[in-house]
């Protein structure tokens, strides 16, 4: 590894190669503090050409690597083994072009999600996928994880908004996938690359769709005396055929943490659960659907319904929801963020089961999630210095996953598998399916050097044991 550093420094300049112990410690985790491992070195390319040169050099040296954006992911995906080099892409953060007529933007991978929507705003456009970390997370990371967000219920996830990618493959060659117009012939390689969690290469140029801002928006807050009542209201809204722009739920633990923070949004703290329902579209549709939704909420026991009366109030309601995960530090120093999807009809039963698992293990479990598409985020607050407690958290996380799978769900909705969910993969895929995934991976990365040890259980893929995978 020491012999590699001068080569990397020649590419980027020594300022952009980090290898001292303290510096590596700051790259040892992503947004999930339970997976900690410092990389061998961190290299920060400033141009597309430097990315290519770095990947070629690592290929030549036979050194595995992990690409990272802002490190806000929640599955331990952008964390590198001590034998792997981390390639941090935050310096490639330009928005290269915005084409308002064709509603397309071209960005570098380190461009921040929220900056793109800000840049598109003067044209009456926005980038739709809005993960809660959008103020910090990068579009390259969004592509790797196929990131979701509250508004993906109506507008679709990252995969639905990427039309073309220029990627650097693990051998340092480059390829263009898809087309700017979005109508490519042949297999959907963009669809394959988006969500590949850094195992297929690095997207160095990303073409996204932009969507027109809705003419009317109505954001409502409803609060309930029980989680079950709130989940039944969610099922009823979806069953009515109305597709809200977003439909989010937060339970009491979560609401109280948010309300104690600077992002306090006025959520009632005595409610067992609150729902945020956003409708958008034409003025008439929003008013019409709004009446139906209010009626359904009331029928299912909403104690009160408030609609934001101004854009500022709407922003406040959303800030509370989007910063909720960060506010959980008020409960305990560590947070295990879970992510699973269940059929929406199963929501009430699964939430009951999650609550029971938490009580059985005597853990603080809070729920903040995309109720409209059944994407759960049960979060467990704990202190990892307490080894016995950490073991209970691990146990409870596994049981929650099993409960979701048993209800017909999946082990991740939007955070990815990374290292955190890797061991749950056999819960939903048989050996033949995992083998097929490995085969696809080897098309892009025959030597399995890009983000090794993630997503696919080790025994399924070729063994990679350079430094012992966590």
């Amino acid at each position: 590894m020491q012999s590699l550093l001068p080569h990397l420094e020649r590419i980027t300049g020594p300022r952009w190669v980090r290898h001292r112990r303290a510096e590596l410690a700051t790259y040892a985790m992503d947004g999930l503090p339970t997976r900690e491992s410092p990389p061998a070195a961190v290299v920060m390319p400033g141009t597309r050409e430097e990315v290519i040169a770095i990947v070629r050099e690592l290929h030549r040296a036979g050194v595995p690597w992990v690409a990272r954006g802002a490190g806000t992911g929640l599955s331990g995906g952008a964390v590198a083994d001590p034998a792997a080099v981390m390639i941090t892409l935050t310096r490639l953060n330009r928005i290269l072009s915005i084409d308002p007529a064709r509603r397309r933007a071209v960005v570098e991978p380190g461009a921040v999600n929220a900056r793109l929507s800000e840049a598109a705003l003067p044209f009456g456009l926005a980038y739709a996928p809005d993960p809660s970390s959008q103020a910090a997370c990068t579009l390259g990371g969004n592509v790797a994880e196929n990131a979701g967000g509250p508004h993906c219920l109506k507008y679709g996830v990252t995969a639905n908004h990427i039309t073309e990618l220029e990627v650097v493959l693990p051998d340092g060659s480059t390829a263009r996938l898809g087309s700017r117009g979005g109508e490519a012939w042949g297999p959907d390689l963009v669809g394959l690359f988006v969500g590949s969690e850094g195992m297929f290469g690095i997207a160095v140029e990303i073409t996204t769709r932009l969507v027109p801002l809705p003419r009317a928006v109505r954001t409502s807050l409803a609060d309930f005396g029980s989680i079950r009542a709130a989940s039944e209201a969610v099922s009823a809204i979806i069953a009515s055929g109305i597709v809200p722009a977003a439909l989010e739920m937060m339970d009491q633990v979560c609401v109280r943490a948010v309300e104690a923070s600077i992002y306090a949004a006025g959520y009632p703290t005595d409610a067992a659960a609150v729902l945020l329902v956003e409708l958008d579209g034409s003025e008439e549709a929003v008013v019409g659907d709004g009446a139906v939704v209010d009626n359904l909420l009331a029928q299912h026991g909403a104690r009160s319904i408030t609609s934001a009366s101004s854009p500022a109030e709407r922003a406040r309601l959303w800030q509370g929801r989007k910063k909720a995960f960060g506010a959980m530090g008020r409960l305990a120093p560590d947070l295990a963020v879970q992510d699973a999807v269940v059929p929406r009809s199963a929501l009430p039963a699964v939430l009951d089961a999650v609550g029971a698992i938490g009580r059985r293990h005597e853990l603080v479990v809070s729920n903040v999630f995309h109720a409209g598409d059944g994407n759960l985020h049960p979060n467990i607050s704990f202190d990892r210095r307490d080894a016995q407690l950490a073991a209970r958290v691990h146990q409870a996380s596994g049981e929650i996953m099993e409960a979701c799978v048993a209800a017909g769900g999946s082990i991740t909705g939007e955070h990815g598998v990374g290292s955190d969910k890797r061991d749950y993969m056999p819960l939903i895929f048989d050996a033949a399916t995992l083998d097929a995934m490995c085969a696809v991976r080897r098309v892009f990365d025959p030597l399995e050097r890009a983000n090794p040890g993630k997503v696919l259980p080790i025994h399924a893929c070729r063994e990679w044991r350079a430094g012992g995978v966590a």
């Binding site: 303290a22 410690a25 935050t90 600077i262 603080v364």
Partner: protein, 462 residues
């Protein structure tokens, strides 16, 4: 607005419908139950100011050094990792990389107001820097600079000489790029401007000032008294700002008094980890200024932030009582109205000093004061929540990073349309840093303290 008002505003009950007790979380530990008390938005105090960090990364886009480098070692989240490692002994204070990245923190605390968990980053940094200074000592340059600010007989002649040279116009001529050009630009940026129709203030004898030695109660019974904190840079290079502070406060119904024996506030020392020097200066200031007036007024945000925090620094009741009386000049002016001034036909952008917005939590007051000026077209500078790179003596100790941070600020100012005539901000470091940056970039926009604008507007009153 209180939290209580917020949670009740505009809600309409639409049915009772509780099928389960709302408080179904009684089995959860105490920490959760404490949160049910909405009456106080304060977090239960934790022994470790950094403990609430869950590593979410929401602070990254608020950090000027992270924005300049993209390097997590230069981000709040990364530095929290380093500070925790230092506290736990996982990394020693002698670790050069650790010290380098903690030193590279501006201390602007822009990460604090965006943190959902309320991590007290500034307090954590204070502890870490004190520990580093204790073991490693200060760098020679920091020792020299802080030594000068500790001794009025050193800084006063130095700054007075600079002011005299400024009068010759020399600094304005040589201001520009390069270390020396930038330094010249910093002094040139302290030059007084005036946009009032008749500039009576220039050359007029200083208003007679009541001294704290004057008989108590002061001249105008019933008018609140305010004691002007003079500081060091403010009292030499920015005397015109002090004059404007005094005049505008008098117009707004305050009696401004003076007190001898005050010294540098100690903020520069405190931020660098030289806590002993900061305490010594603070003790002298408390002795000189306590109980002399209803308020202590400060027109330098950096000084004001520490003066308000003397209670924490010194840990005495006298210091805490003193801190409770400290006000930024904009707070007093906004509280008084301010009295309607004359017009100013100017485009102005406001850039909030970090130690006003993040450290003191003063946001609306300067804007309310400036909005009172008829004809003034006031805008917030985009990115006003970000530091300009001045950060006390940071720009001297870390010139490269300071410039990288400043360049982002200058780019925002240069892009502002319509082009403003002035950038206004209430802190001497920011005034000098931004002023020098604008000169180096060849952008013909001047910098001015908000009270100067109000002062000009009063000069324009009929």
């Amino acid at each position: 607005m209180t939290g209580e008002e917020r949670s009740n505003s505009g809600r309409t009950a639409v049915g009772s419908g509780a099928s389960e007790p709302a408080d179904s979380h009684d089995r959860f530990p105490t920490a959760v139950r404490q949160l049910s008390d909405r009456s106080s938005t304060a977090v239960p105090p934790l022994p470790d100011p950094l403990a609430p960090c869950v590593h979410c990364g929401f602070c990254l886009p608020a950090c000027p050094t992270y924005l300049a480098t993209g390097d997590e070692s230069d981000s709040p989240r990364g530095r929290i990792v380093l500070m925790r490692a230092l506290a736990l002994g996982e990394l020693p204070p002698t670790d050069d990389a650790l010290a380098e990245h903690l030193d590279a923190c501006l201390g602007c605390r822009g990460c604090e107001p965006v943190c959902p968990s309320g991590v007290q980053y500034g307090r954590g940094l204070e502890i870490a820097r004190a520990r580093l200074a204790e073991v490693r000592g200060l760098t020679p340059l920091a020792r020299i600079v802080l030594g000068v600010f500790r001794r009025a007989w050193l800084w006063r002649p130095a700054f007075t000489a600079a002011r005299w040279l400024r009068g010759t116009g020399l600094f304005g001529v040589v201001a520009g790029e390069g270390r020396m050009g930038f330094a010249a630009g910093m002094v040139a940026a302290t030059t007084r401007h005036c946009e009032a129709r008749s500039d009576e203030a220039i050359g007029s004898p200083r208003h007679p000032i009541a001294s704290s030695a004057a008989p108590w109660p002061p001249r105008n019974a019933g008018r609140p008294t305010v004691l002007l904190f003079r500081g060091c840079v403010m009292d030499t290079l920015f005397t015109h700002v002090h004059d404007a502070t005094r005049r505008t406060l008098e117009i707004n119904g305050y009696d401004v008094v003076e007190a001898d024996g005050q010294v540098c506030c100690g903020a520069l020392h405190d931020h660098a980890g030289d806590v002993a020097a900061a305490k010594a200066l603070a003790e002298r200031n408390v002795r000189a200024l306590a109980d002399r007036a209803d308020y202590v007024v400060v027109d330098s945000a950096g000084c004001g932030a520490l003066l308000k925090d003397y209670g924490h620094l010194l840990g005495t009741e006298a210091a805490a009582a003193f801190g409770a009386k400290v006000r930024d000049v904009s707070e007093l002016l906004a509280a008084a109205g301010p009295v309607p001034p004359g017009p100013l036909d100017l485009d102005v952008v406001y850039d909030a000093p970090c130690h006003l917005q993040h450290a003191q939590g003063v946001h609306a007051e300067p804007l309310r004061v400036l909005s009172a000026i008829p004809g003034l077209r006031l805008r917030m500078l985009p990115g006003s929540d970000k530091c300009c790179g001045s950060a006390g003596i940071y720009s001297l100790l870390k010139p490269d990073m300071a410039r990288a941070v400043l360049d982002m600020k200058i780019a925002e100012i240069a892009a502002a349309l319509p082009r403003p005539a002035y950038v206004t901000t209430g802190n001497p470091g920011c005034l000098m840093q931004i002023g020098a940056g604008l000169r180096a970039a060849g952008v013909p926009i001047h910098v001015v303290h908000p009270v100067e604008l109000l002062d000009w507007a009063y000069l324009n009153s009929e």
